[in-house]
């Protein structure tokens, strides 16, 4: 398995969706290739960082702008009633 092939399998590897033979070849390549080990670590780090940065208090501190609040309420009053 080349680095290029290994790279294409990373998503399936992390999802546990590789068949036994491919998984073995994938892991064998990792034991021989520090550069792919680091590439995989960076890939996992990207997932981890992405998952951790949508912090509610940080993103929502501003709340809803008043003019937007009133625009929504006004639009609701003029919208047709649901059947």
């Amino acid at each position: 398995m080349t680095c290029r092939e290994l790279t294409s399998f990373i998503g399936d590897y992390l999802a546990g969706e590789l068949d036994y033979d491919t998984r073995s070849a994938f892991e064998r390549h990792l034991t021989l290739c520090p550069n792919c080990v680091q590439y995989l670590a960076d890939y996992e780090r990207a997932i981890e960082l992405g998952q951790s940065v949508y912090n509610e208090s940080e993103e929502t501190a501003k709340g809803v702008p008043d003019d937007l609040l009133h625009a929504i309420l006004a639009a609701r009053r003029t919208a047709p009633e649901p059947e």
Binding site: C3, E5, I10, G50, Q51, E59, A71
Partner: protein, 210 residues
Amino acid sequence: MSDLIEEAGLVAGLKRGEEWAFEAVIRIYGGRLLAVARRYVRNDDDAQDVLQSAYLSAFKAIAGFEGTAQLCTWLHRIVVNTALMKIRTRRRRPEEAIDDLLPTFLEDGHHSEQFSTWTTPADALLEQRETRQIVRNCIDQLPDNYRTILLLRDIEERSTQEVADLLTLTATAVKVRLHRARQALSTLLRRELRPIEGSATIQSAAASKG
């Protein structure tokens, strides 16, 4: 428990069409939902449009709200669906390329770039407000059709099939795009976070000493 009772009161008020309930549901959840919309559409004007349409849809559909889901979860899904619709219908920009963010290989299949270890653990980077903002900016830089899939799969943790149904794609296409999106994000983080991680280490070391 008291939250649930308050939520039940709020839902009842909405179903009866009471003005205070409409205002309350916007004040309570609007900030959070606006941030969710912003993640998908990437600019404040579109995010505000999405929030308004989403609330109006929710008010029309409130009679059918069963209370099996929490109100905020139900609203969240409406906002995401509305944001996806907004992205589909807004004037298409030429498809942004992601290729220059994907890894390149030599003829023999080896990576053409050497990757090196980070000096700062991910959780230490996440302690810094500045680095969290950089990560969000990197995600914002991903083209729409990759960013939406990254958000739905990795951030909202929806299943491949659910995302495929939502975006009318095949499951394989979702997997391929998610993989490319993560690779591109990884490249952007290397470019934008690596150069400053040394200073982040110094700052957090100083913070833990002080």
